[in-house]
């Protein structure tokens, strides 16, 4: 049913981000890039080569990074701030809140290497809290593309959007999951598989694993509905409540803390409107041990097998 169920090649989304930004910059001279020292970590090497004057480097200074971008937007430019997600969203959180979101500055914040992408570099370099605290900031869409195709859509959408946005650019390699011609709109999930037994709601790097879990469940004659949530804010409330009504329960999966992210958003919605069985998979409220990204995803239960197990657990409870 899905392309992801076939053994397709793995890609990270960084190249899609870089190529799309360059293509946009060729079309629109208002687009500029802003980074904090590392052009490479910001995936801007090719951008700098083609548009050296439109590449603003403020050095190692994230508060300045976001403030300067808000000022560039005030001047009529469309700044793409690109920086490692942990430093962009943690160090500059008040600038994101005040200078960008509250001021409604047309700034695109691009969080690179999010989640546990920096693996062995440790919790200082992990960005598992970004979805939680940016969800709490009013007026700021939170966008989590799942594969290169959706990264292209996300970057193009953010450039055209008249307000601010946060786009989380995945680094951990994933298979393609987005069917050609899929729409990309705020508050609209992409339903990747049909099924009325159980629902799996995933974002970013977890979407392909959700599809693999659905495949495992199919062998047991459990039909899982998989929703790819690219917009963690604004959420597709209709698709989620419909899933709550039509299936036995919901498993959520995200490469982020379970305190306040996608799963929490789904829980808040369903608890108030249509309570259902729920299992929230992610990084529990803890700092990760040492390990590679692949190790840490396994360690925290962010695998197809764990997602499938959570689904079975709900099915067992619902049957009682």
């Amino acid at each position: 049913m899905s392309q992801a169920t076939q053994a397709s090649a793995l890609h990270d989304c960084r190249r899609a981000f870089a190529d799309t930004l360059i293509a946009l910059a060729r079309e629109d001279e208002r687009i500029v890039a802003v980074c904090n020292d590392s052009v490479g970590s910001s995936n801007l090497t090719m951008f700098k080569a083609e548009f050296p004057d439109r590449m603003i480097n403020v050095g190692i200074a994230e508060q300045d990074l976001v403030g300067v971008a808000a000022g560039l937007a005030n001047g009529g430019l469309i700044p793409f701030v690109s920086a490692a997600a942990p430093f962009l969203t943690a160090r500059a959180l008040e600038q994101i809140k005040v200078d960008v979101a509250y001021s409604q500055a047309r700034v695109v914040l691009c969080g690179q290497s999010p989640g546990v992408a920096y693996g062995e570099l440790g919790p200082t370099h992990h960005s598992i809290e970004d979805l939680s605290w940016l969800r709490a900031v009013a007026g700021l869409p939170v966008v989590v593309p799942a594969d290169p195709a959706q990264t292209v859509q996300a970057v193009r959408w953010a450039a055209a959007n008249l307000g601010p946005s946060y786009v989380r650019i995945p680094r951990f390699p994933v298979p393609d999951v987005t069917p050609p011609g899929s729409p990309f709109l705020p508050g609209q999930a992409i339903q990747l598989t049909d099924g009325n037994d159980i629902t799996i709601i995933a974002a970013g790097t977890m979407v392909s694993r959700a599809l693999q879990a659905a495949e495992l469940l199919r062998h047991e004659d459990i039909q899982a509905r998989v929703l790819n949530i690219a917009f963690v804010e604004p959420l597709d409330t209709d698709a989620i409540l419909t899933a709550a009504a039509q299936t036995s329960g919901i498993v959520t999966a995200e490469e982020a803390t379970t305190t306040g992210g996608l799963g929490a958003a789904v829980a808040t919605l369903t608890a108030q409107h249509l309570p259902t069985h729920l299992r929230i998979l992610g990084v529990p409220r803890s700092f990760a041990p040492t390990g590679s990204t692949a190790f840490l995803l396994e360690h925290f239960g962010l695998t197809a097998e764990h997602i499938a197990a959570a689904a079975r657990d709900i099915m067992a409870h619902a049957a009682r």
Partner: protein, 281 residues
């Protein structure tokens, strides 16, 4: 001819008496406003009033009736808690009606305790937490340069605010990029909320700090309108300019001047009467 246009053409010495009266009128409106709302920051409002009035009334290329023209000069009030001085100055310069000031801090008013660009004409970016306005102003000046525009950018900073590290990040960026169209004004009133700046965390030697960050530094009497006008009209040549404006917190009202408690104290009815008399003299 509109007063703003006429002032922009006058020599500093001729414009100064008009600006002085306008600044005292701004202070009087502010007193009424803060008394009515039962909140505000009169001490800092009165130290920065002459700076804001001089900029808006006689320096900035802005059109109050069309406050979003692309080629306008930009002004950021980074010390956003002195919104009272900003609102009264904007109203005096025609950005909105002076009667709007009556709504300051009232439920659902556009005039919040700190300025909001989406609600108040003339406000460029939302400020309040300290250390935010300066990086934004650097971005504005960078945008002008990328667009080869002659427009200028001004940012007004509190002195206590300079204890926030983000300002020094911005100062480095501005000098690195040689943003000579950017002018930062430090309202050097020597006091912050809790005590004198030098007691809380020393800023001096302030002028040499700015110079060592690559800025052209000028020091003026922040209540001398002729000096302010003269220095504001002169952009930098190759470097950004920092004007250290020596001011008095609570300027113009004897019992408020240089008194730390007037950071955000609200005056009694008798104190308002007494202050109005001094500001009308």
């Amino acid at each position: 001819m509109a007063l703003r246009t006429r002032l922009a053409q006058l020599a500093p010495a001729q414009a100064a008496p008009i600006l002085r009266e306008m600044a005292n009128s701004v202070r009087r409106d502010d007193l009424h406003m803060v008394y009515r709302a039962r909140l505000g920051h009169l001490g800092g409002d009165f130290s920065v009033a002459d700076i804001l009035v001089t900029l808006y009334a006689a320096v900035l290329n802005v059109d109050p009736l069309h406050p979003l023209l692309a080629e306008r000069d930009r002004l950021v009030l980074s010390k956003g808690h002195t919104a009272g001085a900003l609102y009264t100055t904007l109203a005096h310069c025609g950005f909105f009606a002076r009667r709007e000031l009556d709504t300051f801090a009232a439920p659902l008013s556009a005039l919040n305790g700190h300025p909001n660009r989406t609600k108040v004409p003339g406000v460029e970016t939302n400020t309040g937490p300290l250390g935010h306005g300066f990086p934004v102003a650097v971005g504005m000046a960078l945008a002008a340069r990328l667009q080869a525009s002659p427009r200028r950018t001004f940012v007004v900073l509190g002195d206590g605010e300079l204890q926030e590290g983000s300002n020094w990040e911005a100062a480095m960026t501005a000098s690195h990029y040689g943003l000579s169209s950017l002018l930062a004004v430090v309202d050097r009133n020597q006091l912050q909320q809790g005590a004198r700046t030098e007691e809380i965390k020393q800023l001096e030697p302030l002028a040499s700090k700015w110079a060592s960050f690559g800025w052209e530094v000028r020091e003026v009497d922040g209540h001398d309108h002729a000096q302010l006008l003269d220095t504001f009209r002169r952009p930098g040549t190759t470097r950004p300019v920092c004007v250290i404006a020596h001011t008095v917190k609570g300027k113009g009202v004897s019992f408020m001047e240089d008194r730390v408690e007037w950071h955000h104290k609200v005056p009694s009815a008798e104190q308002v009467e007494s202050a109005l008399q001094e500001l009308s003299a």
